[in-house]
Subunit: 341 residues, 2 copies
Amino acid sequence: MKKKASTIKDIAQALNLNISTVSRALNNSRKISDETKKLVQDYAEKVNYRPNAIASSLRMGRGNTIGLVVPRINRQFFSNLIYGVEEVLNSAGYNLLICQSNELLENEKQAINTLINARVDGIIISISKQTASYKHLETVINRDIPLIQTDRVADLLPTNKIVNNNFKASYIAVQHLLDSGYKRIAHISGPLAINIYKERLNGYTKAIEDSRLSDKSPIIFENIITDSEAYKLATGLISDKKMPDAFFAASDFAALGILKALKDNNIRVPDDVGIVGFANEPFTEIISPALTSFDQYSIEMGREAARILLDELENKQENRVPKQITIDPRLIVRESSIRRL
Amino acid sequence: MKKKASTIKDIAQALNLNISTVSRALNNSRKISDETKKLVQDYAEKVNYRPNAIASSLRMGRGNTIGLVVPRINRQFFSNLIYGVEEVLNSAGYNLLICQSNELLENEKQAINTLINARVDGIIISISKQTASYKHLETVINRDIPLIQTDRVADLLPTNKIVNNNFKASYIAVQHLLDSGYKRIAHISGPLAINIYKERLNGYTKAIEDSRLSDKSPIIFENIITDSEAYKLATGLISDKKMPDAFFAASDFAALGILKALKDNNIRVPDDVGIVGFANEPFTEIISPALTSFDQYSIEMGREAARILLDELENKQENRVPKQITIDPRLIVRESSIRRL
DNA sequence: AAAACACAAGCAAACGTTTGCATTTATAAT
DNA sequence: ATTATAAATGCAAACGTTTGCTTGTGTTTT
């Protein structure tokens, strides 16, 4: 004997009013007398009326929902991003539909599909490692669904973008190591298919080129992300006696692996070898020696992505020019890169 | 001159069919001839038809969407939880609507409201620090929306629950410290309004009682969560010369604060003082000495929560008895708690 | 006192699906 | 040839809102 949820129709019936009146009363329309409004609202309260957002969405043609696609929800960077997105979106009255691609293109396509079908008002995405074809994203654009790319972006797509200045940050990282007196600086890079790693690599290369070093040959190791990969790499370098005197790693985890390997082989950091990481993972300030790294303002990136999206939604105008917001990561100097002389 | 998205009505018109036929063809109903199916499906493909999930939801009375409410998306534990939930839900064809309460009851209520209005099929929640009144959750139950509580739960509410066995884990933590030869074991607790901290405290107390220690007086410090709070606490204990010889902290961050303070005061861990934390935060195995802690299987908890929910949704039956799934956290022994003799 | 005007409320269509039932057509059973 | 049966399609209502338009009152203006 469960009573089903009450609708405006029920209320109208009970109060001997028309549903349009009830609807307007609940939405505080000025066309309705205060008297009736109170009557309706009180009764709605009493019967625990909850507006059916689905019906409303259908009628209004929009659901106040934003879709978000990230590679992995539980990576610190992305969970911070989501945090920021949710914060802004929620206080603007939007809901957040979240999908993760697990770094797989197939899942990403699937997610985009779901979001389109759900008629989200906009989509924020950080593309997967595999994403090299952009057809699914073009579909989004063609449907006039505002699309914002963050962090990992497809440069060619004409969408708003929120990114870090990876090039500049890397350039600064190398300069910092040079300033500390290191001379043979290696770069540990990630999968170059992802633009951020490519950019960090470029920043590194340029900085080395621009340096006053006599030996300007870059030392690059690609596709190293986990600490164990880095550990192996560093161990190999030690036994091959090819140890550089500094590392700029494109990820903190890679930096950590290097650090562990060096410690295990009694090579002193920062005295013998300097290290700079990237992302300012929580552990960087906790380990010993604390790791120099870059704060990416991930929460703020999320907030900004949401803000841009809201702006686009609320000031709908023709022929917008896609803009790109670039945030400079902040170098956080810690022990691992300051040579005690 | 933008063409609006095509609907089954458009397809029906173009193909000179009835919309019901189109609908059935797209849903692969057996009532439709293969011929017509192919015709419809091909045409739908051609015009890039996307079913309007909102309309479908309205008609069907359900939207294949699950709501999730957590205190903070970007805490490791919760982002892992979400990861697990998303994984299971997504492959079962459900969408995930995420809200964070920011540890505020008001936000939590608001989130629940939104989710009810969105007519989600079920809700998974980890309640906020402030949540002491459960009216909003009762509303959910009264509306027959399946509700699953995880980790932080309101015991009195008759819902399914996925929890850690905090009592048992704490008991084991203390036993482990006793086995390592520590004799004055303190407990650093969190806000006791949250059940998990209460349970951990109880486990600690019981273990001390059950011990063979001559001095069985518990040493408890409440409401310490951040590492800086713990740092201050430990520093105070040192200057007051009231240092216990071991700490079991209800959070890794508290444990970290203690550890830092001890190191800064040249007290050796684990030789002079032992430490055990809780949650197995990523940093625990990275710092030196590595911190003994408890893995909570957070991803698996998320998966399990989602599974339970799906089960409840798919095998709808009257008078279900709410069940509680308890997961034993796993003690991960690291350096910080093994006394080298 | 008639015309003009607000104001409040009602009517009905629309959003895009799904689905029970009715109808048509082709096929099988008598 | 007639009827019963099955197969394929069409019709129309329903889900719960929102909103332009119409209608009915009572108040103001001339």
